[in-house]
């Protein structure tokens, strides 16, 4: 490690002198600030996949809080800080979108993020914030073992996912519902539930309903009709609230994703998943900011790489019922006993919603659906 450290420091010094000399002598006086020099260099940063001494640097990340933060801290971050001699500053105060936009791409609010794909794509439209999937693949050894769909967004790497499903009470519903469209059956009037329009699960539900009843997921009118036909319906804020309503029997069939349903099943609640035939997936996606300073950028790549490791993904599957995107990750028993497999066949037909389309039409969808929900 000491030899490597010296090698890294020597290379860094030599590279740094050469680049800085070139840039300084090549630019007019005062035309190139140190700020720009660092960012010009940032674009060329590569990480060779080996641990390095970050000399106490601080990397800022945005990720979910609560139990999620506790899990990440104890399973990844503590070891990461020791291995790389760095500090991970963890921001769990969602929303992060305004913070990124306020800082701008060239001075990113965070060096690495874990959040929802719709927010990532929204930010990607606002500026050149993130490394592309090709750049990520080139800089993270564990990316080679990930399924192709993990890079399907174009902006980040999806490290965990789950399928959307209706959660339904097996003790309260007979006969069992069949298919996505069962949600609309008359027997579930006012006993079915979806989410507020700002919740990502609603967004996917809307697009899936549009695909089910219309010409495709972008058939907005079909989506609106589906929401009208589903009323009366309960509207939840978050998945935690949906869980409670289902467990209390106030909701007998609701929009969920399989991880939450598996959790309830393991707690002994009499529920089961009704996986949607269209197979949209809920994703957890990492981004790395393009214009971070070099050390922070390398740390970000290293941290994402750590999250792509099979060992971590197995633990995350155990804790959050998330399916791994690494083909070599073994599934925890609590996913295996639900019939989940980590094979190419299991991924067949999986669909990441078209967030670009949704974001382009979001205002109209939100306004119309809120009117429908308000009755």
């Amino acid at each position: 490690m000491n030899d490597n450290k010296k090698l890294i420091q020597t290379n860094k010094f030599q590279l740094g002198l050469n680049r800085r000399q070139l840039l300084k002598t090549g630019a007019a006086a005062g035309a190139v600030s140190m700020f720009n020099i660092n960012h010009a260099w940032s674009k060329d940063v590569m990480w060779d996949g080996e641990p390095f001494d970050a000399d106490g640097a601080t990397i800022r990340i945005n990720e979910w809080g609560g139990f999620w933060q506790e899990f990440m801290t104890s399973n990844v971050i503590e070891d990461f800080e020791k291995t790389y001699n760095c500090k991970v500053a963890y921001d769990s105060s969602f929303p992060w979108f305004p913070k990124y936009v306020a800082s701008g791409p060239k001075d990113p609010a965070f060096h690495m993020g874990n959040w929802n794909l719709n927010e990532i794509i929204k930010l990607g439209k606002a500026g050149d914030y993130f490394l592309s999937t090709e750049e990520l693949k080139a800089n993270m050894p564990n990316a080679a073992d990930c399924w192709d769909f993990a890079f399907g967004s174009g902006l980040g790497v999806t490290w965990g996912f789950g399928q959307y499903a209706h959660v339904w009470r097996t003790d309260l519903i007979d006969p069992a519902p069949k298919g996505f469209a069962a949600f609309w059956e008359d027997r579930f009037a006012d006993k079915r539930a979806t989410y507020i329009t700002s919740n990502g699960l609603f967004m996917t539900f809307f697009m899936t309903a549009a695909a089910e009843f219309g010409s495709g997921p972008d058939d907005m009118e079909a989506g609106f009709e589906a929401m009208r036909a589903a009323m009366p319906m309960k509207i939840s804020d978050f998945t935690g609230n949906m869980q409670t309503q289902v467990e209390r029997g106030e909701v007998q069939i609701g929009v969920q994703w399989e991880g939450e349903i598996f959790l309830q099943m393991d707690k002994g609640i009499e529920v089961a998943p009704l996986t949607w035939e269209q197979k949209p997936i809920l994703t957890q996606t990492h981004t790395v900011s393009r214009y971070s300073d070099p050390v922070e950028k390398k740390l970000a790549l290293a941290l994402v790489n750590a999250k792509l490791s099979p060992e971590f993904q197995t633990k995350a599957g155990e804790a959050f019922y998330l399916r791994p995107s690494n083909s070599k990750a073994s599934l925890p028993e609590r996913l295996k006993n639900k019939g989940v497999t980590n094979t190419a066949g299991a991924l067949e037909g999986l669909w990441i919603p078209d967030w670009n389309w949704y974001l382009d039409n979001e205002d109209e969808i939100v306004e119309t659906v809120n009117e429908i929900f308000a009755g």
Binding site: W64, G65, P95, D107
Partner: protein, 277 residues
């Protein structure tokens, strides 16, 4: 009337309708507090009301929580810092506004009270943008967060101190000055004790407001730190457990204690000019 007797004027009794309205208002204000307390003592697994039964399990969970207890202590520290700075700044501003006549005084008063009228989200985002663009190094720092909280709590101190300065008899200060006391000594011995009820009330309000502040904290909180409102928000997104309500119990407890201290120290009769007898 016989010599020496004092004519006592009987106060009119409060109309029944007003008493009813007052009771209804009190019930409406206190009902959420009761709901939170009972939800936090729920023996069931979820944050529901009415509770399934009563139990201290979620109170115990709060003390064992890796998220809520540190957040509670952080909010306490933040509120104490905010209270300290708000009290000093707010008192100074109130004194200047009450004691001086200058062009634009009303504008200045409106300016200092403006944070009360602006949405917290707007204030938080505006401050975040200001910190970023000014390069003062306050972005994502504890001082930056305290400044944001002082901004939203200072108007409370200004308001209460200003109220205690209304009708203040300056002749006391003049008398002290004429007897040789300097400005600081006069302020310490004469002015401060008279306006102390307003200062104490304002500082307690600033503590309470800071402790529960969410909007501003959302943008200004440094990484790795979570004020209690944000920790509650993060938790409720994913788990609907009564630990959040148990945390609420301790927040309510803190507010009640603060108000009791205020009542003890300030003698509320003087502030409200109400005869409780």
């Amino acid at each position: 009337m016989a010599k020496g007797q004092v004519k006592v004027r009987r106060e009119r009794s409060v109309p029944v309708i007003m008493r009813v309205l007052a009771i209804v208002s009190l019930v409406l204000l206190l009902a959420p507090v009761v709901v939170v307390i009972l939800a936090g003592l729920n023996s069931g697994d979820h944050l529901t009301f009415p509770p399934d039964g009563l139990s201290l399990r979620w109170v115990v969970a709060f003390f064992r929580s890796g998220a809520f207890l540190p957040a509670y202590l952080f909010s306490l520290l933040l509120a104490l810092c905010t209270m300290f700075f708000s009290t000093i700044l707010g008192t100074m501003i109130a004194l200047v506004l009450a004691r001086n006549e200058f062009p634009g005084k009303q504008m200045a008063r409106a300016f200092f009270m403006a944070p009360l009228m602006l949405p917290g989200i707007v204030l938080g985002l505006a401050l975040y943008l200001f910190y970023l663009s000014s390069g003062l190094g306050l972005t994502r720092t504890m001082p930056g967060l305290v400044i944001g909280h002082v901004l939203v709590t200072c108007p409370y101190v200004i308001g209460t101190v200003n109220a205690s300065l209304v009708g203040f008899d300056k002749s006391y200060e003049e008398a002290a000055r004429s007897l040789g006391a300097g400005p600081l000594k006069t302020f310490r011995i004469i002015t401060l004790p008279i306006i102390s009820p307003g200062i104490i009330a304002g500082s307690v309000f600033s503590f309470i407001v800071s402790f529960g502040q969410f909007d501003v904290s959302l943008f200004l909180t440094p990484p790795d730190y979570n004020p209690l409102p944000i920790a509650l928000y993060s938790s409720l997104r994913y788990t609907f457990e009564p630990t959040a309500a148990a945390a609420g119990i301790f927040a309510i407890f803190l507010v009640v204690v603060s108000m009791l201290i205020t009542a003890r120290l300030t003698n509320l009769r003087k502030l409200a000019n109400v005869n409780f007898s």
